[in-house]
Each structure stands twice: as C-alpha cells, then as structure tokens.
C-alpha cells in the first residue's frame, strides 16, 4: 500500500502550487483557481487521514464533504463578484483594481 506520507507530500505540493498561483497570478479567475487548488489539497489530506486512521470514524469524510460544499459556495460568490467588477471596470486583472490605496 502507498504510505500515508506520499499523500501528505502530494497535498502539501498541491497547496504550495495553489498558493503560488494565488500570489503570482494577476487574473482574478486564475487567483480563484489557485484558491480551489489549496482547498482541494485539504481534501486530499482529510481523505488520506481518514483512510489511514480509524476507518469507522466518519469525521474525515464528513469534513471533506463540507469543504466541497463551502468551496462551491465560495466560488459561486467569487465569480459573481468578478463579473460585477468586470461590468464596472472592463478588467479582471487584480493589479488594475487600485482605486483604494493606503
């Protein structure tokens, strides 16, 4: 069987890639994608911990399902906000949204 640590390293890598995307991308949609990657890495973590821990305890699975649901809600709101910004300003590049500074 694949050892647990492989899953954890995979999740950590996924999280780091997502974070890199969030910090380096300028397009709002790409930033949202990065956030999704981070949330999915959490799901990998949770599922792996559940499988390698006490399998009769459903906590890990339930947690993962709730994370799915919340992530879906968050992206729905996120895309709506992106659209509302795009309608006003004709751009979704984060750097150009700088009406308010200091």
């Amino acid at each position: 069987m694949v050892p647990l640590s492989w899953y954890l390293i995979f999740a950590a890598a996924l999280f780091s890639i997502g974070l890199f995307g969030v910090l380096s991308r300028r397009n709002a949609v790409a930033i949202l994608l990065g956030i999704e990657l981070m949330l999915n890495s959490v799901n990998v973590n949770l599922a792996a911990f559940w499988r390698y821990g006490d399998v009769r305890m459903m906590t890990g699975q339930v947690f993962a399902i709730i994370v799915f649901a919340v992530a879906a809600a968050e992206v729905a709101v996120g895309l709506a906000l992106v659209i509302s910004v795009y309608r006003r300003r004709n751009t979704v590049v984060a750097d150009e949204l700088d009406l308010m500074k200091w």
Partner: protein, 482 residues
C-alpha cells in the same frame, strides 16, 4: 433524540432563521417605497429573539450538545447576545441608506452572517468551526460588494473575497493537520490528547501558525490587515460598521475558545508569539492611522489598533485575561458602531467622508457632535466612557500575567491614539465652515438613525460608568473556559 437542551442551545439561531424566512416571504409583497420597513422587522425580530432566548434558552452548566458540535455555555450565550444586538443596530442603520436600505436581500444577508457568527461563538468542533466561519464570511463578501453601481464597493467585495478565501484555505489546512495528528476534531477531546503529549511541539506550532492566518484575517491583526482599510472604505458604511465590530468580535470569540480550551498546554510558545503580534498590530495600526484623511479609513486603521489591545487579554491566558477580552469586545462593539453610525448619518446628508468636512459640526448638529465626542473619546480610552474601563481591564490582565513591556507598548499606543481621535474632534468643535452659516446647514437625523445612535451612545456611557454588572457577566462568561 432531539432533547430540550439541544433545542435551547440553538434557539437563537432557529429564531434568526425563522426571521430570515419571514423576510423572504413578506418583502416581495411590500411596495417599493415601503421596503425599508424590512429594517424595522429585522430589528424588532432580533430584539424579540434576544428576549425569547434570554427567557427560555439560558445555559446552565456547560454542556456539549448536537453530537459535540456545539458548546452550550455562558461564554457563547453572552457573545450571541452581543452579536444580535449589533445586528439589530446595524439593521436600523441600513434603513436610510438608499443604496441598500430598500433591498430585502441586504437584511437577509445580514441575518445569514449573524447566524454564522452565533455559531462561531459556540462551536466546539473544527468541522463546525470552519462551517460557521464560512457562513459568516460569504454573506459579508456579498454585502461588501453590494452597491453594484459603485466602483469602490465592487472592488471592496472582490478584494475581501480573494483575501478571505485564501486565508481560510490556510486555516483549513491547519485544521486538516490537527485532525490527522490526533484523529479527532472535537476541541475538548483535543485538549485531553494534547495533555497526554500526543503532538510534538514543532507540529503544534506549525498548525497554530496556519490557524492564526485565518483568524488573523477575521480579527484583522498585522500582517493580515491589508484588506481592512480598503474594504471598510469601499463597502457600504453600515456594512463596514458591522465588519469592524461583530465580525471582528466573532473572530476573537473563536480565538479565545480555540486557544484557551484546545491549546493551553502549548501556552508558553504561542503567548510569546501573540504578544509580539499584539505589539506590532497596535503600533502599525496607530502609525498608519496618523496620516489618514478619510474618516472611514481612519476608523479602519484604528480598529486594527483595537484588535491589538484586545489581543493583550488573550496573551495573558488567565481568567482575568478572558474576562477583559469579553468586556473589551462588548465596549468596542457599542463604541465603534456608534462611530460608524455617526459617519453614516453625516455622509447621508452631505455625501462627504473626509475629516476636514466635519468642520463646524458642533454648530450644525449639536447632538450629533456630542455623540461623536462620546464615541471618539471612548475609542481613545477616556473616562467616563466604555473604552476607558475596557482598556484598564485589558492592561491589568497583561500586567498580572507578567507582560509589563506589552502593556507599556499598549499605553504608549493609546496616547498616540488620543492624538488622532482628538484631531477629528478638533474639526468638529473648534473649526468653522469657511464662508458659511452653519446654522442654516443642519444635519437632520431620520428616526432609525436617531434611535440607533441614542441607544448606542447611552450604552457607551453606561458600560463606562456602571461597569460592575457588565464586568461580572463577562467574568461569568469567561469562567466557562477554565
């Protein structure tokens, strides 16, 4: 299976939900110009819910209900009452804001986030905690970007969402690691496991750092404060008021419960970290406030500084510390809501938001100026207002726990704070409007504003003069943590 204790433990949330559904049903039948009455309904409903909960759903001995998801105790109950009061006041302040006051959705979103905050205050399980934090945040993202025709508002909602989603992913990663290390998500079981030494110190510190990112965002302490000024400036002003008070207090409620209940055994390591964070937060918040010219941004940066003062109570990790945090948040919610309410009432009539626009306010509207005096002196920490007593207790807790240097930093910072708060009052009381007769330019208050501001101002004075009952309630609430 569903016992009366379970029912009582979530009675306020059930009532809020019922109220929300009621608004959804009633609002479409009202005519466009009567829609703002939803605000009366929301406020009345929330106050009724508070009374009903107080009569029938008072907690006794702390118990875990709903499968360990919810902790039914005085700490949670006290916070719930605070949040619902803040929600009721915010609903009144919504009413005469023509951008959002005529839309039933705004009140519904307010109630949805209030539901999440109430659950944040009582959740005793990481799953519940995450769910309630997101239930709070997502409606607030929408409310911040609610004014679709306003460039600043859409930008504020957008920034708030991106920052919030990223930091909550950090916190969630921390939660998943806690679950992995211990095999449980129950906060009280976690405490037992940590006592048995199941978690190495380095792992605990890593996890705590991840969780602190998420909570640092909610309570806006440095270095996770970048969103706060932008969002407070751009969002509709009543929403900014709600964000800076109830949402921040909810973050502190979680912080206190999580750290005092689940992680006290790693206390030495995280209190030092948090002490440094508190000192930096106060200093950075205050120094950045000094150069603000927009009143909403001034309040935003000063609310960052206030998060720093409150953190001193958390750092103390003692009973007095917890009590002082609860008390500070109660005083801060009243004071800051009052300050934002005055800003709203002023800019509704004048459309202006700069500090220099407040020149001559004492002649244009003496009562409004007087309430502004109460709010800003309370924020600055002057007797006889709530902010003074709250600061004294927080500093006392810090000294008692041996953090004299931190309290020293806090006192120096509150002196800096006095400068910029008095600077605003200087415009209000000493300066005149150039070439205008102020008597002819009054600032009329509509009834919802008058009621909300009067209640808040009286509250600010009461909490600062008759503070013994407030303090003993905070003490009773804090006792549940130990």
């Amino acid at each position: 299976m569903f016992t009366s204790t379970m029912f009582a433990s979530i009675l306020p949330e059930i009532l809020i939900l019922v109220l929300g559904i009621l608004i959804l049903i009633v609002e479409p039948f009202w005519k466009e110009e009567k829609r703002r009455n939803v605000g009366w309904l929301t406020t009345g409903g929330l106050l009724a819910a508070m009374v009903v909960s107080f009569l029938f759903a008072r907690p006794g001995e702390p118990t875990a209900t709903l499968g360990g998801m919810v902790r039914f105790d005085w700490l949670g109950f006290f916070f719930k009452m605070l949040f619902m009061f803040a929600g009721a006041a915010t609903a009144l302040l919504f009413m005469d804001n023509e951008k959002i006051g005529h839309r039933g959705e705004a009140y519904l979103l307010l109630l949805a986030s209030l539901l999440g905050m109430n659950l944040m205050a009582v959740s005793a399980d990481l799953v519940m905690l995450y769910l309630s934090i997101e239930t709070t945040s997502i409606p607030l993202y929408i409310l911040s970007g609610f004014m679709l025709a306003d460039d600043k508002s859409t930008e504020a909602g957008f920034k708030y969402l991106l920052f919030g989603a990223m930091t909550s992913a950090f916190m969630l990663y921390g939660f998943s690691l806690v679950f992995g290390f211990t095999g449980t998500t129950d906060l009280y079981e976690l405490a037992e496991l940590f006592k048995a030494g199941n978690l190495p110190l380095t792992a605990a510190l890593g996890v705590l750092a991840l969780i602190l990112v998420g909570l640092g965002f909610k309570t806006s302490f440095v270095p996770f404060h970048f969103w706060a000024p932008d969002v407070y400036e751009g969002a509709p002003t009543p929403v900014s008021g709600f964000l800076s008070t109830a949402s921040k207090a909810a973050g502190f409620a979680v912080l206190v419960r999580l750290f005092f209940v689940a992680f006290p055994d790693f206390g030495v390591s995280w209190t030092v970290t948090l002490a440094i964070v508190a000192a930096v937060t106060m200093t950075v918040g205050n120094l950045l406030t000094l150069q603000q010219t927009n009143i909403k941004r001034l309040l935003a940066y000063s609310s960052i500084a206030h998060a720093g003062y409150t953190l001193i109570g958390v750092v103390a990790l003692s009973q007095l510390g917890a009590t002082s945090v609860v008390f500070y948040l109660a005083a801060y919610i009243l004071t800051n809501l009052l300050a934002f309410g005055i800003v709203m009432a002023f800019s509704r009539v004048t459309g202006l938001e700069d500090i220099k626009d407040y020149a001559g306010l004492s002649r244009r509207s003496p009562w409004l100026a007087l309430m502004m005096l109460a709010a800003f002196l309370s924020l600055a920490g002057m007797p006889p207002f709530g902010g003074f007593v709250a600061k004294v207790f927080v500093f006392a807790a810090g000294v008692e726990a041996g953090y004299v240097w931190l309290v020293f930093v806090g006192i120096v910072n509150s002196i800096v704070g006095v400068y910029y708060y008095l600077n605003v009052l200087k415009y209000v009381y000493l300066y005149r409007m150039p070439n205008e007769d102020e008597e002819n330019l009054p600032i009329p208050l509509t009834r919802p504003y008058a009621i909300a501001l009067t209640v808040l101002a009286v509250g600010v004075i009461l909490i600062g003069t008759v503070f013994a009952p407030w303090f003993s309630w905070s003490g009773a609430a804090a006792l549940n943590l130990f």
